[in-house]
C-alpha cells in the first residue's frame, strides 16, 4: 500500500496504519538526523516527534501537492530547526518553525487541477535532473556534508564542488521554469 494512502487512514484514526508508517519512517528520520550531525538522543527525539506530528497533522497532508516522504521530511526538518533554536536559548517559548510559505493565497487551495499541474511540473523537473546533479544537491543541502566529502563522493576536485552545486541548482530552476 502506498504511504500516502496510509497517511489518509491515519487521519481517520487508524492505529495499524500509523504503526506501519512509524516502522518505516521513524528509523529513517533518525538515520537522516544522525547523518546531519544530530546526537543520538536528539535524533531519536526528532524521529519520535516527527511521527507524532504525522499523526496530528495527517488530515493536512495533501497527496496531490507533495509525496509522503517529502512531507515527512519537511516535518522532521522543521522539528530540527525548533530543536536547535531551543537548545541555544534556554527557557524560550516554543516557536513553530513551520513557516507557512507553502500556502499561496493567490492559488485557491481547492483547485486540484492547478495543484496537480504544479506537482507534475516539479516531478518532471526532478526526474530530468541528472543523477549527479541531484546527488550534489542532496549531499550539500539535505545531508549537509562538508565540501571535501562531496568532492570525494562525486570524484571531482575540491575546487569545483561549489560550482557543481550551483550548476545543479541553476539547472533545477531552469527545468522548473521551462516546463510551464
Amino acid at each position: 500500500m502506498e504511504w500516502a494512502t496510509l497517511i489518509g487512514r491515519v487521519a481517520d484514526g487508524d492505529r495499524e496504519a500509523f504503526r506501519r508508517l512509524f516502522e518505516h519512517f521513524a528509523p529513517r528520520v533518525k538515520g537522516l538526523m544522525l547523518k546531519t550531525g544530530a546526537s543520538s538522543d536528539d535524533a531519536e527525539e526528532i524521529a519520535q516527534e516527527t511521527l507524532l506530528a504525522v499523526w496530528r497533522k495527517a488530515a493536512q497532508f495533501d497527496p496531490v501537492s507533495a509525496g509522503a516522504a517529502a512531507w515527512i521530511y519537511t516535518i522532521a526538518r522543521n522539528l530540527r530547526i525548533d530543536q536547535v533554536r531551543r537548545a541555544a536559548r534556554t527557557g524560550a517559548v516554543d516557536h513553530d518553525a513551520e513557516l507557512d510559505y507553502l500556502v499561496d493565497p493567490a492559488e485557491p487551495a481547492d483547485d486540484v487541477m492547478a495543484r496537480n499541474d504544479e506537482a507534475g511540473r516539479i516531478a518532471t523537473a526532478l526526474s530530468s535532473l541528472s543523477e549527479e546533479q541531484s546527488m550534489a544537491i542532496r549531499l550539500s543541502f539535505i545531508e549537509e556534508r562538508p565540501h571535501p566529502e562531496i568532492a570525494d563522493f562525486l570524484g571531482i576536485p575540491l575546487g569545483t564542488v561549489k560550482s557543481r552545486i550551483r550548476l545543479a541548482m541553476n539547472r533545477l530552476r531552469a527545468l522548473l521554469d521551462e516546463t510551464k
Partner: protein, 212 residues
C-alpha cells in the same frame, strides 16, 4: 506586481534544508510566500529531501519508542486542519504576524526601523525598515551580508529596481547607494549580519541613511 529579483538558488536550497539562520530564514520565507517560482524550487528541493529520507540507512529506534509515541497519541487525537492565525494586520505578510515586532525607532530623518524578535539565536538580526519616498541613502558597504525583501514601495540601485516582493542580497563586495522610489514609502524586511556590539549596531544603522 511582478517579482523580478529572487534569492540565489543556494540560498533557497539552504532554506528548504532548514540550514539558514533565523533572520535569513524569515526573509527568504517572506519572499517565497509571494513568489510561486521560488516556492516551486523549494518544493523540488524538499522532494529531494524526501527521496533522501527514503534512501538513508535506517537507524534503530530505542526500545519502547513506538509505545512511547502511542501513549502520547491518546492525549492528542488527530486534529482537522485549522485555518491560519486570524490576527489582522493588513500591512504585513502572514508569516510576520507570527513574530513579535518591537517599537518603531527613528534612525534618520524619514527612516525608521522596527526590530523583529527572532526565535532563537541568529547570526543576522531582522528588522522592518521604512523609508519615505525619495530618500537617498549615502553610499555604503556592508561588513556582513544583508538580505532584503521589499514589502511595499520600491527602491533602486545599480542592480535595478526592487518593488514589492523582490529580494535583494548585499555583502561586503557591494558598494551601493539605494534610492527610495517616489510615490509611497518603502517598507522592507531586512536580515543583516555584522558585528553584534549594540552600540555599533545602532551607530551603523544611523550612519548610512541620510535624507537629502
Amino acid at each position: 506586481m511582478s517579482v523580478t529579483h529572487h534569492p540565489s538558488p543556494e540560498l533557497l536550497a539552504g532554506f528548504a534544508a532548514g540550514t539558514l539562520d533565523a533572520g535569513e530564514h524569515l526573509v527568504v520565507a517572506v519572499h517565497a510566500s509571494g513568489c510561486s517560482a521560488c516556492r516551486r524550487l523549494l518544493r523540488a528541493v524538499e522532494g529531494i529531501g524526501g527521496s533522501t529520507l527514503e534512501a538513508v540507512e535506517p537507524a534503530a529506534m530505542k526500545a519502547g519508542a513506538f509505545e512511547a509515541v502511542m501513549a502520547k497519541l491518546d492525549r492528542s487525537p488527530p486534529q482537522p486542519s485549522v485555518p491560519a492565525d486570524s490576527l489582522t494586520d493588513d500591512e504585513l505578510p502572514e508569516i510576520l504576524r507570527h513574530y513579535r515586532i518591537g517599537r518603531r525607532r527613528w534612525v534618520a530623518p524619514g527612516v525608521s526601523m522596527r526590530p523583529i524578535e527572532l526565535p532563537g539565536p541568529s547570526r543576522s538580526r531582522a528588522f522592518l525598515l521604512s523609508s519615505n519616498p525619495g530618500t537617498h541613502m549615502l553610499e555604503h558597504t556592508h561588513t556582513g551580508s544583508e538580505l532584503t525583501c521589499v514589502l511595499r514601495g520600491s527602491f533602486s540601485h545599480e542592480g535595478g529596481r526592487f518593488g514589492a516582493g523582490d529580494f535583494d542580497f548585499g555583502d561586503e563586495t557591494l558598494d551601493h547607494q539605494p534610492t527610495v522610489g517616489d510615490g509611497e514609502p518603502c517598507l522592507c524586511l531586512v536580515a543583516m549580519t555584522g558585528d553584534l556590539r549594540i552600540n555599533g549596531f545602532f551607530g551603523r544603522l544611523i550612519s548610512p541613511f541620510v535624507r537629502l
